[in-house]
């Protein structure tokens, strides 16, 4: 059976991994390549590297980081942060990235999704979406949650799929950093309405939260950062727990 994936996310600033609580108060958690290797040995199914400073500081490429990761890792990884063009992505592909993730640039220029899918294949294009519940409606935010838009989450993810996205990484800003569980209601709606895989992000605190997001939230993968970085949860223990609860995981 296809396994549910456990994905540690390494947020990167100035070449170091960090994790913000609700996107502020950054804490240092180490070297991205070393940490990535460690996670791959400890049972991570995939890794996501996001340069959270990139959009803000207009940095164009993450090529050297991608290359360094690709040389050292034997599991798939996604890299993102500040990607704006087909040229940006071409450099990352040549550097050995398996997938790239785009966020703000896709909302500002939706044609980018189709252009990337056409140039590199849908499987290469992950669209990351940050959203927040505002007056009963899930709305998309940009630039690491700093900029509100008038784009509705459910309309946007459908459009992403139609334009050629291969996967959606959905982060609920209301849940991110709370360790109170994933946003399973919107996740289940997205997962049911779309035919591409969905990565749940934001709110992981306990093993039960992962179980709930794979069952109630119908997520294909669960992503978390600080609980793994600060050793609050071991991936092997999490997989043992999920397996005992009947969730298919790679062990």
């Amino acid at each position: 059976m296809l396994a549910k994936r456990i994905i540690p996310c390494l947020d990167i600033k100035d070449g170091r991994t960090v994790k913000g609580v609700n996107f502020v108060n950054l804490r240092d958690a180490g070297d991205p390549v070393e940490l990535g290797k460690l996670y791959s040995e400890k049972g991570a199914d995939e890794l996501v590297f996001l340069d959270i400073t990139a959009t803000h500081e207009k940095r164009k490429t993450l090529a050297s980081l991608a290359k360094n990761i690709a040389k050292n890792l034997n599991i798939p990884f996604t890299i993102g942060g500040g990607i704006r063009s087909v040229e940006d992505v071409d450099v990352l592909l040549q550097s050995g990235a398996d997938k790239i993730s785009i966020n703000s640039a896709a909302v500002r220029n939706p044609d980018l999704i189709g252009d990337l899918a056409k140039a590199f294949g849908s499987q290469f294009v992950v669209v990351a979406v940050d959203a927040k519940l505002i007056d009963g409606e899930w709305m998309v935010f940009l630039s690491g949650g700093r900029v509100k838009t008038e784009v509705r989450l459910f309309d946007w993810v459908k459009e992403c799929q139609e334009r050629g996205a291969g996967e959606i990484l959905f982060t609920s800003m209301d849940h991110d950093g709370t360790k109170a569980g994933f946003a399973n209601d919107p996740l289940a709606k997205i997962s049911t309405e779309l035919s591409i895989p969905i990565i749940a992000s934001g709110g992981a605190g306990t093993m039960e939260h992962f179980y709930e997001t794979f069952t109630e939230g119908k997520a294909d993968a669960g992503l978390a950062a600080s609980i793994f970085h600060f050793r609050e949860m071991e991936i092997m223990d999490l997989k043992k727990y999920l397996s005992e609860k009947g969730v298919s995981v790679r062990r």
């Binding site: 296809l2 396994a3 034997n74 599991i75 550097s95 294949g121 895989p197």
Partner: protein, 195 residues
């Protein structure tokens, strides 16, 4: 040992090259006919679209070179599909080395396409595999599959049982990405390099 990785500027060829480096193997990324013909082993990687890739292969004359190779050849993902006869992906005639067809997944129970992630391989046969690999997880990313047939050497279940690996004579192929399948993938690549 001299390993040639066929470079056709489409797939994630870099990861295969990096994996060879990690295994301590000298590998060359090349589309040069002579270099490919003289290599001890040839790897035909792939991520991309079948029709565009076949056209590129024909433009470079590789459609004549690859089928005539006598050393062990390993097709990966799209590389495996292109070793077959025909792909439904944009109605593409492939290299025709392995007489099997490539079809699109038709989800019956809401399965997502592409088939993306780790899945178990089983009923393993042939030199790429040993008993310890039975039912282990390998990494897949694909929307088209090779049906189960006479040349199937491993199966995987998604929508239906399909070919996770093929072999005909000196041509070996995996639908999954051994270069992305952790230690299990490295074991399979080592088995290929030992041939």
């Amino acid at each position: 040992m001299n390993v040639a990785i066929i470079d056709y500027n489409a797939g994630n060829v870099q990861s295969v090259l990096f994996t060879m480096e990690r295994l301590g193997i000298q590998a060359t990324l090349t589309a040069d006919h002579e270099q490919i013909q003289q290599a001890d082993k040839v790897i035909f990687p792939g991520v991309g679209e079948a029709n565009t890739t076949m056209n590129f292969i024909k433009e470079r004359g590789l459609d004549k070179v690859i089928p005539a190779l006598k050393q062990p050849v390993l097709g990966i993902c799209l590389g495996m599909q292109l070793l077959c006869e025909y792909s439904e992906e944009n109605d593409t005639d492939c290299l025709g080395i392995i007489p099997q067809k490539v079809l699109r997944f038709q989800p019956a129970n809401g399965e997502k396409v592409p088939h993306m992630g780790w899945n178990q391989v089983y009923h393993l046969q042939g030199a790429l595999f040993d008993e310890s690999l039975e039912k282990k997880y390998t990494y897949f990313v694909h929307s088209y599959y090779v049906e189960k047939g006479d040349f199937t050497t491993a199966l995987c279940d998604y929508v239906l049982p399909f070919s996770a690996a093929l072999q005909k004579d000196n041509f070996y192929a995996t639908q999954f990405h051994p270069e992305k399948s952790g230690c299990i993938g490295e074991a399979i690549l080592k088995n290929f390099l030992k041939l």
